[in-house]
């Protein structure tokens, strides 16, 4: 295969040595198999060439952005060809149409940076926005703190360019059959997204930032439910528990309340200042009613520091234990207090450190089991993760809010999806990827009876 790749692509685009290939087997949570070769395309035509070569050789393909994903999506489950999009970084902003056309390898933050001089922003803001790529965001349908009010990646896609399993290029829009919508969040199992037309919006004129801390985790969730029930639509509503706050405090030293059991970060925003302030007052009142202590960010710099704190939670947890099993459940907001308390109880009863944080406004929680693979039993970790997933499902929730299923939660799909629906998902997969060559071993559990 390598010689075929080298015939179709430039030498700088094809990595074949062991030292090079070894570095394309992981994402931010998991190590997978060392690929047989790695291609670093610069154009869609390069991607087509790579797909055609892999197909002819019968070799599976894994697409990869910055590999900051948290479900094992970019970590190859079997040896194959990794197509890494990090050199596809062309970006064009069209302010008159309020659009950006971005190649898959454009770093998420770069879209907003390019749009800002035109008075526009790109709202989806995953915690990894300085690192992660648009292609990876599309594959996982990434969210972020802004998603409560403004939505996730998929809500900002007007058109997609996709290379299918046969190496054909498609330009997909959102009309007729919404194939773009099907591809978004498909984790590289249905096609390779090479370019996207993204919707840009003007930033809100006013933003107010609050921090509240609580002596108990469930009280924090109650405050969220009450604030939203009272009519507030904050742009961001994020929570982190005590272990998260302390991990971040070790990194940034911002003076976060180390003793609090839960911290809530809230932004209210909009173009009408009285409304923005009124929403803030509603949130403050709900926090106080739930027993929380409220602090307003005094300046833009203080607000920025608080948000940097939230963005750093996930990797800062590495300071506590070297490895973690990362959940990404989303539950109805009314169930939040019960869910966070039940997960807390499961963690307390286990030998592991279980921490929680997430986009609580969406009911999207990230319970993480922290462990040391040298000392801890991986089956016990998996079992606890399964029980946490079942808590979410029991309360009417789902397995993934924004990180995807990947390989980490693939086994839990049978609990979440009935066999008939799972069969339909397999039918879709086989229609678009008949040979099963696109990111095998991800998302869908193997069918039991054929």
């Amino acid at each position: 295969m390598s010689s075929d790749l080298l015939r179709r692509l430039a030498p700088r685009q094809v990595l074949t040595s062991l030292a090079e290939r070894r570095n394309y087997r992981y994402d931010a949570i998991q190590f997978g198999e060392t690929p047989l070769a790695v291609v670093l395309p610069e154009t869609t035509a390069d991607v087509v060439a790579a797909v055609q070569v892999a197909r002819a050789a019968g070799v599976p393909i894994v697409g990869r952005g910055a590999a900051s994903g948290l479900s094992g999506g970019a970590a190859p489950a079997v040896p194959g060809l990794v197509i890494s999009f990090t050199r596809m970084t062309a970006l064009r902003v069209d302010p008159s149409r309020r659009e950006a056309r971005a190649q898959a390898g454009v770093v998420t933050l770069a879209v907003s940076d390019a749009a800002r001089p035109h008075g526009l922003i790109y709202p989806p803001d995953p915690a990894s926005l300085r690192t992660s790529t648009i292609g990876g965001n599309l594959a996982e349908n990434a969210g972020g703190p802004m998603c409560f009010k403004y939505g996730v990646t998929g809500d900002y896609v007007r058109a997609l360019q996709v290379v299918d399993a046969a190496g054909e290029v498609h330009e997909l829009t959102r009309d007729a059959y919404d194939l773009a919508g099907l591809l978004i969040g498909s984790e590289g199992t249905l096609g390779l997204m090479t370019e996207a037309t993204l919707r840009l919006v003007p930033p809100p004129r006013f933003t107010r930032t609050l921090m509240a801390h609580f002596p108990e985790v469930g009280a924090c969730a109650e405050a969220v439910s009450q604030a939203i029930a009272a009519g507030a639509v904050p742009s961001k509503l994020e929570f982190m528990d005590r272990a998260c706050t302390n991990a971040v405090e070790d990194y940034l030293g911002l003076g976060l309340p180390r003793a609090a059991e839960a911290v809530l970060l809230i932004d209210t925003d909009g173009d009408d200042l009285p409304t923005v302030e009124e929403e803030r007052a509603l949130v403050e009142a709900a926090c106080a009613a739930a027993g929380g202590t409220v602090r307003r960010a005094g300046s833009d710099a203080e607000a920025a520091a608080l948000w940097q704190a939230r963005r750093s939670v996930s990797p800062a947890l590495g300071r506590i234990r070297p490895q973690r099993m990362n959940e990404d459940i989303a539950v109805p907001r009314s169930a939040l207090p019960d869910v966070v308390r039940e997960i807390r109880a499961l963690g307390d009863a286990s030998p592991f450190t279980v921490v929680q944080f997430g986009h609580i406004g969406d009911g999207n929680l990230h319970p993480n089991i922290l462990f040391d693979p040298r000392q801890d039993d991986s089956h016990a970790v998996h079992d606890l993760a399964h029980r946490i997933a079942l808590v979410a499902l029991r309360h009417g929730g789902v397995l993934s809010g924004e990180h995807g299923i990947g390989s980490m939660k693939r086994d839990f799909m049978r609990d979440a999806v009935d066999p008939v629906t799972l069969g339909a998902l397999w039918t879709v997969k086989r229609a678009l990827d008949p040979a099963g060559g696109l990111n095998p071993g991800k998302v869908l559990p193997e069918e039991v009876n054929g």
């Binding site: 030292a19 070894r22 570095n23 670093l40 910055a66 590999a67 990090t86 990894s128 690192t131």
Partner: protein, 425 residues
């Protein structure tokens, strides 16, 4: 990240490396902070990728020869250390790894001779000065020379000033308020003797007496970061002997690279019998800007004379000051203390200028790409003056600013302060 490094490399340096690899959760937050990843866009030339490569080599899963090209491209700028939420001490890892791996490297005899010449000349100011003068004569021949010889010539300034050895003792002017020891550095004595002269004048004027302890030498960073660990240990121990115990309020360096090198002594000597001495030593090391900033905060720094006209100063964060030592606010505060001076922030300020010790000699292409990018970013702020706190950055930035046909002066932060005190700014 799981690893078996402690079994492969027992002892202090194995512990240093294993701890760093343990701490990495391969989240990728370091990618945008890495200059080589920014230029090359591939995983094996990123901090996360290099950590995996080092781990694999140490565990025997990958040959050193396969990994070496990517590890050699690391500037050691430690931009990734600032960006890392998990607290991976990447700088300690790559330094320890280079020390461990260098004796096993197969290098051509020309390459070996060049490295050994650099490591002999760099720490010896007299030799360096002579070499620089010889180099100046050779400069017109540069286009005809092979790249390995051309790179060092390209970097030489237009004129090499005469050596100005620093006096062993400089008394305080007026009432004595403090007593410090100064590390005078190597290359900067030959290339920019005014850095030390300005430093002594500024300290004396503020009532600080300065001792330049006899027997001090190179901080050892150049040797350490190129893997010459035995040579580095010799230099480290010579400095420990020269500065310890000593009746000083602080041990100061006015070169970011050297200061970071001195602060690294405890990691270098981890597991050795003089480790405790290294801790005591490193605890007293400060960059000159940190020390003066302390005086400023205590209200004890003499106010400089105002600049003769409003001056926009673009401040360049040296990697070994900002990333390795975490010193960012102090130099800016000192510059702002001068009436009439505005401090400008440079776009992509966290990205290395490409100097990085001996990097511009060993990886001239990448170093040049980064130097051009840095010069363009600095000049985009339209400054009247460029200030930095490190001789390596100074030389690199000056060279690329001149190549961009800009006449803007490049000074050490202390030179700016010194000029202000003398009414020459």
């Amino acid at each position: 990240m799981n690893n078996e490094i402690r079994e492969a490399v027992p002892g202090g340096q194995g512990e240093v490396m294993a701890h760093a690899v343990d701490a990495c959760v391969h989240c990728g937050f370091c990618l945008p902070a890495c200059p080589t990843y920014t230029l090359l866009g591939d995983e094996m030339d990123s901090p996360r990728g290099r950590i995996v490569l080092m781990k694999e080599v140490l565990e025997g899963g990958l040959s050193l020869a396969d990994a070496a090209p990517h590890l050699d491209r690391c500037l050691g700028c430690q931009g990734c250390v600032t960006a890392c939420p998990s607290g991976v001490p990447y700088g300690e890892l790559i330094t320890a790894f280079r020390g461990w791996s260098e004796p096993q490297r197969a290098r051509s005899s020309l390459n070996r001779a060049k490295r050994s010449a650099i490591l002999k000349i760099l720490p010896a100011p007299r030799l360096f000065s002579v070499a620089a003068r010889v180099g100046q004569f050779a400069k017109p021949l540069a286009p005809a020379l092979p790249a390995a010889l051309r790179a060092p010539l390209d970097l030489l300034p237009e004129t090499v000033p005469p050596l100005q050895p620093s006096p062993p003792f400089t008394p305080a002017r007026g009432a004595r308020r403090g007593r410090v020891a100064l590390l005078v550095g190597c290359a900067q004595q030959a290339l920019a003797p005014n850095f030390n002269a300005a430093t002594l004048r500024v300290l004396a004027r503020n009532g600080i007496e300065v001792v330049v302890p006899e027997g001090q030498g190179c901080c050892g960073a150049a040797a350490l970061h190129t893997g010459a660990r035995a040579e580095a240990l010799r230099l480290v121990r010579a400095n420990l002997a020269a500065f310890n115990p000593g009746d000083y309020d602080a041990i100061l360096s006015n070169a970011a690279g050297c200061g970071a090198g001195l602060k690294e002594y405890p990691a270098v000597l981890r597991g050795e019998q003089d480790e405790a001495q290294a801790h005591a030593f490193a605890a007293r090391v400060m960059d000159l800007s940190e020390y003066l900033h302390g005086l400023l905060q205590a209200g004890e720094l003499m106010p400089p004379l105002p600049a003769s006209r409003p001056l926009k100063v673009a401040y360049h964060d040296a990697c070994h000051l900002a990333h390795a030592q975490g010193v960012r606010a102090a130099p800016r505060a000192l510059l702002r203390f001068i009436p009439g001076v505005t401090v400008l922030e440079v776009p992509e300020g966290d990205l290395c200028c490409g100097s990085a010790g001996t990097y511009n000699l060993e990886q001239p292409e990448l170093a040049t790409a980064l130097g051009q990018r840095k010069a363009a970013n600095i000049l985009s702020t339209a400054p009247d003056l460029i200030a930095s706190g490190n001789i390596g950055c100074h030389t690199q930035i000056q060279s690329h600013v001149r190549r961009a046909h800009s006449p803007v002066p490049v000074l050490h932060t202390l030179e700016v302060l010194d000029r202000a005190y003398r009414g020459e700014l």
